[in-house]
Structure formats: C-alpha cells, structure tokens
Symmetry: C2
C-alpha cells in the first residue's frame, strides 16, 4: 500500500517521527503537502464534517483509513512494518515509550513557547529563558536518564533490546534535535547518556535512514519547527 502523509511542508516537526518510520521501513509514501495542491487538501480534510477529521497534522492516509496523532500513526505502522514487537505486551510497551517521547517533544516545544503555541517566540523571550533553564535542569535529565537506563538494562542495541522499534527512530530524532537546538547544553550533557548517543549513531547509519538523511526529503532543522536554535536559550 502507498501511504499519503499530511504534514506542514516546511518543518520536520511532529511529522518527522512518522517520516523516519516510513523511511526506515522502506514504505512508499507521498509527503502530500510538499507538492501541488496537497496543502489545501490537508486543510480540507481537517474541516470535513463526516468521517474522522483529524484535529491537527500529522495524519496518514492508509487506504480508506485516516489516522491522526503521531503516536497513533506509529502504533499502526509499527504493527505492519516490523517496527514493533508482535505480542500485545510488547506493543503496549513500545507505545507507552512513544507516548513518553511525545510528552518530551511537547516540553521541547514549550521551552521556546511557554505562554502557548499561538504567540510568537519574540513575545515570550523572558519566560522562554526561564522555562529552558528548568527544562535542562530538571526535565532533560529525567527523560533522557529514563531512556538511558532502559537501554543499559536491556544491554541491547536498542531501547527494547536487539530489535529496532519506532521508538528508537524517535529517540534518534530527539538526540539530533537537542544537538541542533541547544548545541552547548547538549554537548555538556551527552556524557550522561552514552548509550543514547550510541543508539543515535546506530540509527543514523541504517541504510534507509542514511539515504533519507542525505536526501532532500529530509527538511533541515529550522526556527519554525519543534527544535529551534535560539542563542539566548542555550548556555
């Protein structure tokens, strides 16, 4: 099946977690909003009266299904593309971890948008600075320390052991994104999470991911996305 992914065309954002899964799986898909009239089709689908209109991008069209919410899309794709365990217990565990990544992603976003997503960063510089401090003092160590412990406990290459799952692809993105947005803070922090850094490197050289990262399908990080490089928020 060929999928249609609907997401904002100029950012990695939350769509990137879906792109990474589709790319690693070698699935065929169109990144709809990046060409032709895809963007207006995307807006139309959210306005639909009938059926299952998504609240926000990203969403994935898979045949007749329209699936929204990043972690929900990955739940669906994981089962079909060997990116999740086969047992119910395993699937729930990987999904639980992905939902924890989801929480972290929102906290990354809030580091530059503490007063909410509808105001500009320029209108919330001072609170953003305070929130970023708190984010690095309390939250990054808590979240990344948790995933680091899981990789260590499993003694494996990936967060659930020897086999990759979609949550590993997402953790790759977290490490890459934090390096982009907070280069100094992240450099200082990386010695605390050696196994996550190795996991990042291991994902980066997977053939499909490597090809994707080198292609123009990978949108560069920028200051419209989740991970934004604002000097004032770094060290």
């Amino acid at each position: 099946m060929r999928y249609q992914l609907y997401y904002w065309p100029n950012i990695q954002g939350r769509g990137e977690y879906v792109r990474l899964a589709l790319e690693d799986a070698g699935a065929s898909y169109d990144d709809e909003a990046r060409h032709g009239t895809g963007m207006s089709a995307m807006m139309r689908m959210m306005d639909e009266k009938r059926g299952t209109p998504p609240f926000a991008p990203p969403f994935l069209k898979a045949g007749k299904l329209v699936i929204g919410q990043t972690a929900n899309i990955l739940l669906y794709l994981g089962a079909r593309h060997q990116l999740a365990p086969k047992t119910e217990a395993g699937r729930l565990w990987v999904h639980q971890l992905q939902l924890t990544v989801t929480d972290l992603v929102l906290e990354v976003h809030d580091s530059h948008h503490p007063l909410g997503p509808t105001l500009y960063y320029e209108d919330q510089r001072a609170p953003a600075k305070r929130r970023s401090e708190e984010f690095w003092k309390e939250r990054v160590p808590k979240y990344l320390g948790y995933f680091e412990r899981l990789v260590r406990a499993n003694g494996g290459a990936y967060v659930t052991g020897r086999r990759i799952s979609y949550v590993d692809l997402s953790l790759f993105q977290i490490v890459a994104g934090l390096r982009y947005a907070f280069p100094k803070r992240m450099q200082a922090f990386e010695p605390e999470i050696p196994r996550l850094v190795e996991l990042h490197d291991r994902v980066a050289v997977r053939p499909n991911i490597k090809a994707y990262l080198a292609s123009d399908r990978r949108i560069p990080f920028n200051e419209e996305g989740i991970f934004r490089r604002y000097k004032a928020l770094d060290l």
Copy 2:
C-alpha cells in the same frame, strides 16, 4: 481480573481518566497508592531495573502486565470492557481522540504552570495569567469546538455516535474540570458547546458513574491537581 491502579493518592489528575473507565465498566480494582504501603510500592515500580518500569503515574497492573501512559491504559481497557469499537479503524479513531484529549489536558496544566511542572504556581503567577488568557482565547475554542462538531456530525449521544467509549468519559471530566477551575470563563463559554454539555450530563447519570461520583473513591477537585481554581486566572 482484578486490576491495581497506581496514581498519586490526593488528586484526580491524569489517573481520573483511568478511574472513570474502570468505574463505568464495573471493573474491580484497587487504587493502590491510597492505602497501606501502596505509595512506596508505586515509587519502587518506577525504579525497577528490569521489565517495563513506567516513567510516571498513572500505571495499571493487569496480571503480569504493567501499563503506563493514560491513553495507553485506556487503549488496553477499552478493548476489554466494551469502551471502544471492535474494529481496528474504530479503535484507532477513539485512541486518536483520546490523544487529543491528552494534549488538551497538558494545556490545562500549563495554564497554571507555563514555566514548567517543577516550579510552584506562586513562582509563575504573571506568565500563568498570560497563558490562561491565551488558553481561553485560542485553545479552548479550538479543542472543544472540535469535539462539539464531532458530536453534532454524528447526531449521537456520544462522540462516536450511539455507543459510549472511554473518550466520552474523558470529555465528561474535561467539562467538569473546566467548570471547577474556571467557573466564570466556563459559564460564559458553555453556550458554544451545547452538545458537549449534554454529553457531560449524560455521562454523569450513568449508574456506575453516578455511584462513583457520590462515593469517597472520587477525590474532590483541589489545587494540587490538573484543574486548579485560582481566582486570578478566571475572569
């Protein structure tokens, strides 16, 4: 099967969405951290080296399974207690809606904690006021307008039509919580969402929910939870 729910003992918080599902289903469960040594057991389970230690409460013990993340717990319970559709498409849809409720719940929390969860409200009063303004101006209309449209389009009693699902129980809690935390703002806003208000009332009189709400198993709203009544943030 008898479940064990692990959640902070003094607040409704995120655990409440799980409690409402367990109660409506008439499932037997223990609210572990509310008695005996349950609280220290809960902390211990998050520190486990092996297995599937959850990142944060709530989590549910179901036999050998330990399931974390509110929406993930509901995904599991929904399938077992007729609180979700049987088809894969239906299950993904209800889960997608629950993840949208999850996003809203976090925005409710951030209305009084814009600088992050680790600082006190008293240390972020001014940004909380700004964020609450934005929350009611932009976000509440967007989220609740979305769910209102779904109920209207389905012409049904519940958000997916005639049959209840766990997301309806969560929407009940959203309406009840916003009424508690922002009584004036919510009163002014309710004419915009007549069907959600009806849905709230319909859930409130379901026999198991009615009995639960009247029992001491229902922890009262308070200023340690997600929905907090701070006069300065209301109108």
